[in-house]
Symmetry: C2
Subunit: 240 residues, 2 copies
Amino acid sequence: MSISNEFKERYSNGIFNLSIPVLALDLVIFTIYQNEFCVLLVERTREPEAGKLMLPGGIMKSGHSLEANFDDILKRRTNIDANEAGVYKEQLYSFGEPGRDPRGHIVTVTYYAFVAKDRLLKTADLAKVRIIPVSKLPEFELAFDHARIIAYAKERMGYKLEYTDVAKNILSERFSLSELQHVYETVLSRPFDKRNFRKKILSLGIIRETGVTDKSGSKRPAMLYEFSNRKRELRIVEIA
Amino acid sequence: MSISNEFKERYSNGIFNLSIPVLALDLVIFTIYQNEFCVLLVERTREPEAGKLMLPGGIMKSGHSLEANFDDILKRRTNIDANEAGVYKEQLYSFGEPGRDPRGHIVTVTYYAFVAKDRLLKTADLAKVRIIPVSKLPEFELAFDHARIIAYAKERMGYKLEYTDVAKNILSERFSLSELQHVYETVLSRPFDKRNFRKKILSLGIIRETGVTDKSGSKRPAMLYEFSNRKRELRIVEIA
DNA sequence: CCAAAAGTGTTGACTTTACACCCATGC
DNA sequence: GCATGGGTGTAAAGTCAACACTTTTGG
């Protein structure tokens, strides 16, 4: 029996007992939905842990980069093309405790992503995925070690927001400063002073006025801004 | 043929053509040696890339955590017990481009470590490993994508030093402020003002005076300090 | 004219940087 | 007594946090 076939058979039986660990990829996909910082989860339909919520993921395919595997899984679960604008992704961490999955030793490389809710709503089949506010996760049972993974991803997402311009991935191309402030407050679950927030963001030089105002509301129209193209990324994020 | 045997045979032939990627672990081990910020490398003895320098690493063993695999490799290459004091380790990144290793698709989870030079010199067999100043790496040929991995590790190491007390892993239990400053200057390759450095370190409250001075030099004896035990780690570093 | 969100400056506290001289010791 | 690294303070600049009122619009 070839390795490939032995592998497939074991996989379909839910058993992994290879002498080398199996590599998987799991995705923590964040969005802002109905004013809440949310994560995308799917329901497990089979054992083990059937009925619990899990991160979208899959076995890593040979011959493709980690990123390509990420894109595949994202496409399969949400129908989103990761290379379009509006998707920020970054490798999070690799988890490899032998006991983390009862089927055998599965090492998972995790990524987190921040996706504009419009994009998600347009393409994703909401019957297949659940979009759960991070603050409500304690009310749900999560499969495997996925609660821990989400907790870590949330923390990293917060750091990222504070010193980069990731927020642009979740906003329309043009946005008001209030909308931007709202993203920060939702993700970091902490209020910001309006004046200080504006001063700080503007002094960073990462956004600029468009000159256009938003006349759609029934209140005073807000000036719309856009992100300058120059990168303010402080860290090397993607290498592989 | 069992997967295990097929795997072993392919591995000994230097060929990996499984339908799932093989998982490996590579270590970037930093130390300060002769006043330079150095990385530990080994010479490749077989093809591919024989003769070049590479990071110590190995195929990930099933049934053991990533950390346990780290410890094994460290022990094998340097004879250091990773759980003793004087070793700081942290997961760096996972690299998985299909073309990064000519033998097949090998995904590597990398860790970096900061090891006291005394510990390294005491146990490691210096005939088997090379301790190379990071600043001199461009003069050497490195195997695979290891140069890139080291560059990324160096960057992370710098961030770590700036906002945590990792430095303690490379110093003796008691040290002078000048020694501490020297670690910072060596790793970050940038000079610090003596008065400002002292003020800042002392105001952080991570070290305290021991009351003992170092009378071994032929100059004015320096006050020796030690790290307080309380942690000042800002991020969750190790989860798995 | 009222409700609602947009927009705008100043002050005090704190942090960061720049900078130069005396001290204790071994030889 | 001199060479060497150890040790110390202050002022100016910049950053951060707190805080309240006016403006513009639609209804």
